[in-house]
Amino acid sequence: MLGPNGAGKTTLLRILCGLIDPTVGNVATAGLPPTEARGTIGFVPPGERTFYMRLRALENLEFFGRLYGMRRDEARARALTLMERVELADALERRVGTYSQGMLKRLAVARAMLTNPSILLVDEATHDLDPAGARRIRELARQAADEGAAVLWATQRIEEIRGFADAVTVLASGRVRFQGTVADLLLHSSSSRYLVELTDGNRSVRSITSALTKAVRGLGSIVPVDSSGRRNYILSLTEGIPLGKALASIMAARFQIIACREERSEIEEAFLSLTGKDPR
């Protein structure tokens, strides 16, 4: 579930796990009213302050396991298994207050998996995590999905859905703007700005800019990325003009193109066209 700040992602997740009542309409989670379905839902909340910091990690998991109706020995055994799975086995006797953000998030995933839930709700789990930590959390969610859980992953980090999400819902201002696969989402992309790296054949900056402007006349515009103006340019295409035609024209003006890539990703373009918001 992708959406900018204020789109309603967290609100929807809270409704699904029974923390908020919907103002209108009805919600069924796994066919039940959310408050009755709580035992079948695992929830990874946003933020890191969701544990008892004075208690050890194992004690925390045991406590929450027992709230879900497990016997103490059962809760302990399950907690040990999950601590192993989220790679916190070495830290299970440490107080949670000493955990890093990445460890806390992995612990939150372990807690959400205590009951082996059929639905896993994950809210902004990779927010504030370094890339490696974020990837580990996504792997854990993927693992849960592979084992049969329906994982609903709410995020505003648009790049993380590529290669990760099976289906995407884009929310904006509390409304669904898109529902489908990542590939379908890319169809909404209308990328038109490219970063072009080229060699100039030792011409002066002024003559390079002038020659490039002349080359893309009628196709779009091109401007230097920085004041040096020697290698990197932003090429903006007029609607309907193929990229290849503009590049061919630049090459015909005796420039060598070293690299060309979209200034924004396709997913970002699609996100912007659907929500009208710039996430940066």
């Binding site: 009542d21 969701t50 004075r54 208690l55 879900y68 109706g69 016997r71």
Partner: protein, 280 residues
């Protein structure tokens, strides 16, 4: 999904309350200094009142079981029961407030526990700790200051405490509802506890109050509990003499628990409707 989950909710509720008890015991043990600070605070109170006792003419104090008493004996029972009141009231609201502040309230409410279990669980540790603390306090002070506690009244006094506990718990639940609704509603606890203590005769005989306040104090269940405890422990009153007080306390306790639970459920429903459970 584990087969043991979500079945037999009533049986599981006992395990959940036990989990809360263990959690709070572990947290309290992690703050060992607080144990000693609490004991020191009690000793400090006793030292102060031991000097006050020298100024008080025992003839101004009520008689229990037809026998005069001294101020130290009189006030010790008062301190013991009002400490019970203050701890019970304060800890119930601070338990909910604490869950709000450390961010665990939502994690608790996502689990399949009923509000009554949450409320009972939050004070399960105190319901065990405070009576033990009270009993140790009473016996220790009686030994040090050499006033006689009637062992024959211990059973009656214990029943008074048992009937008094749900009363305090009910008032605490009502204050927790205030915290849930107004966040800093725990500020209400202080004046309420002060008013109840002032009109309880904990530190001075009710006969010293102006007539109109005395009339109010006469129906104060805290005063009734205190008077009953003194009659039992200092005057050796039996079951028959104390029966009317048991009845009043039982009714007051039922009203407090029912009223408090209704108030808490209404507060929780309001928070779910507004979507503000996690706010503090």
């Amino acid at each position: 999904m584990s087969a043991t989950l979500y079945d037999a909710p009533l049986a599981n509720d006992f395990g959940r309350v036990a989990a809360f008890f263990r959690r709070d015991l572990l947290v309290a043990w992690s703050y060992r200094v607080a144990f000693f600070a609490d004991a020191l605070n009690l000793v400090a109170q006793v030292v102060v009142f031991s000097f006050v006792a020298r100024m008080v003419n025992p003839a101004t104090l009520p008689q229990f079981g037809g026998r005069p008493t001294d101020y130290m004996a009189f006030v010790t029972v008062g301190i013991a029961l009002t400490a019970f009141l203050q701890l019970g009231l304060g800890r119930m609201s601070s338990a909910i407030r604490g869950e709000q502040l450390i961010g665990t309230l939502e994690s608790l409410l996502v689990s399949p526990i009923r509000p009554a279990v949450l409320l009972f669980g939050c004070v399960a540790y105190d319901l065990v700790y405070i009576p033990i603390r009270t009993a140790i306090f009473l016996v220790s002070i009686a030994a040090v200051f050499g006033f006689g506690l009637h062992a024959s009244g211990a059973g009656e006094a214990a029943v008074i405490v048992l009937l008094f506990m749900p009363l305090v718990w009910g008032l605490g639940i009502a204050s927790a509802a205030g915290v849930l609704t107004f966040r800093r509603g725990s500020g209400l606890v202080g004046p309420v506890a002060f008013g109840l203590t002032l009109l309880s005769g904990a530190y001075f005989p009710l006969s010293l109050l102006p007539g109109w306040l005395r009339a109010i104090a006469r129906v104060n269940p805290i005063a009734i509990a205190l008077d009953g405890a003194r009659e039992a422990l200092l005057g050796g009153a039996g079951w028959k003499e104390l029966a009317p007080r048991f009845g009043i306390l039982a009714v007051a306790s039922v009203l407090a628990v029912v009223g408090g639970t209704i108030a808490f459920n209404l507060a929780l429903r309001r928070e779910r409707r507004l979507g503000t459970i996690g706010l503090y």
